[in-house]
Symmetry: C2
Subunit: 156 residues, 2 copies
DNA sequence: GCCGGTCGTTGGCATGGCCAACAAGTGGGT
DNA sequence: ACCCACTTGTTGGCCATGCCAACGACCGGC
């Protein structure tokens, strides 16, 4: 859903206090706001959310898994995994079947239709990311990713 | 309030899908989560929030202003400015007086006690930011800030 | 067979960011 | 002088996000 920031070009954060404009934490937050908007709008246009992509990407990469495993992989709470798997299963992108070897677990797997949808989301998100990082060169983007990874690993 | 991520070092997002780990938007989001936690915890320890700092920084830099102006400067909704000014005025950090030249407006100004508090928050936030960016060299931090500013300006 | 721990699931809660509506007030046009 | 569009402060509410607590079912080791 496009909102004020998207519609009319946003507030004049250009005139924000220098203390904020100079603080990396604030810059990160502001940039993430834009990223979230671009991504959410892009995903919303195909009736998807962030969690959808996370789970399906994990299933594609690691193969079928239990819901708890999926949650750990993606950093989602178990309860949120339930809701997200429900949504995706309703659309036919995921399948949920009981694990015969452990009756507590559900084995979640991605369907062919889900794979197609995932690739579609890949393209959609790629465009959103390009839009976000438009002013940065390829080298700069790699540098940015490298630094963010360093920070995350340090706090991992 | 420290929570799970802070307490036990966070989930194993190290094992997150490569599609996520490689996406700048996701990395930004994850990094911002850590930044938010560090900042919120640091501010919470002195009974403050993000909005507090934004408003007081704006008042310090630009001098007294109406609430609507403050909101535009900092990118806050008018209604959120009301609540934040209430909190800060209750603590004696801000003063609100009617504008004689325009009876619709309130003129908000920062008090000496507010200035002292602002400087305290400056130190607290500086530490939080240092903690966040610990693995980056000074040159890298400047590069990061430069790139984020470029992105923000492009979308400004 | 018991017990600590894990699983899926439900329900709820706090926060943040936003929007809508309102009365009071302003300024420009006529 | 009046009207009209607009702004301002304020209240109230909405919804998505990220959590946490508790439950019954179930597992594994002792």
């Amino acid at each position: 859903m496009a909102n004020k920031w998207v519609d009319c070009g946003g507030m004049e954060t250009r005139g924000a206090p220098r203390r904020l404009r100079g603080a990396a934490t604030w810059l990160l937050g502001q940039t993430t706001i834009h990223a979230h908007r671009l991504v959410s709008d892009a995903l919303g246009a195909v009736d998807a959310r962030r969690y959808h992509y996370s789970l399906m990407a994990a299933l594609d990469e690691f193969g079928e898994a239990s819901q708890a495993d999926l949650g750990r992989r993606c950093g989602l709470d178990r309860s949120d995994v339930v809701a997200t798997v429900n949504e995706l299963a309703d659309k036919g992108f995921l399948e949920r079947r009981p694990d015969p070897a452990d009756k507590r677990r559900n084995i979640v797997s991605i369907t062919p239709s889900g794979m197609a949808h995932l690739r579609h989301l890949d393209r959609v998100l790629g465009q959103a990311q390009d839009a976000l990082l438009a002013p940065l060169s390829v080298a700069e983007r790699e540098e940015l990713v490298r630094m963010l990874n360093a920070v995350l690993e340090h706090h991992g």
